[in-house]
Symmetry: C2
Subunit: 104 residues, 2 copies
Amino acid sequence: MTIGRWAPVAHPDVESVVVDDVLRALADPTRRQIVRLLLAEGDRACGTFGLPVAASTLSHHFATLRKAGILRQYDDGRQRMNTLRLDELENRFPGLVRVVLDAG
Amino acid sequence: MTIGRWAPVAHPDVESVVVDDVLRALADPTRRQIVRLLLAEGDRACGTFGLPVAASTLSHHFATLRKAGILRQYDDGRQRMNTLRLDELENRFPGLVRVVLDAG
């Protein structure tokens, strides 16, 4: 049984996700870099992205991506893990994530 | 010679446009509808889009799209016209505009 340090988090159903929120969430280079790393290397703990931003800022970025339906968070012991919801997003917004990542 | 009622407007070089601004500009259903109409039917005067929003709101939407490099505005007599910068955008961000419009 996992004993997490973290508050439980909510994830929207992909059907309730609107493209406005996805676009706003992806309109930030740090958030795109998070998505790019998850896409390239799979699930990853919040503290392991190696991005040059403060922990509180990073936490905000993860929450923005989670609320937009882009990633799912789960606890693994003392780590908060992140997983990209790529299949769900692809189904709802075909091609969107990859074309945005390719754009910059 | 054209005598415009309008203040001159600036258009960013497509090379200076960043994807963050394009995504934020497209993260609004009214602005996507403007782009969709320009894509489907070509150049169009500001007052002819038939969108259910106040003129001042519409004016803000056009400015947002213009500053993001998505459309170009020019005067034709007393009308302010809008033209989509699709070729330039396609060249800089391949596939982006169409995949976003298809997304919703």
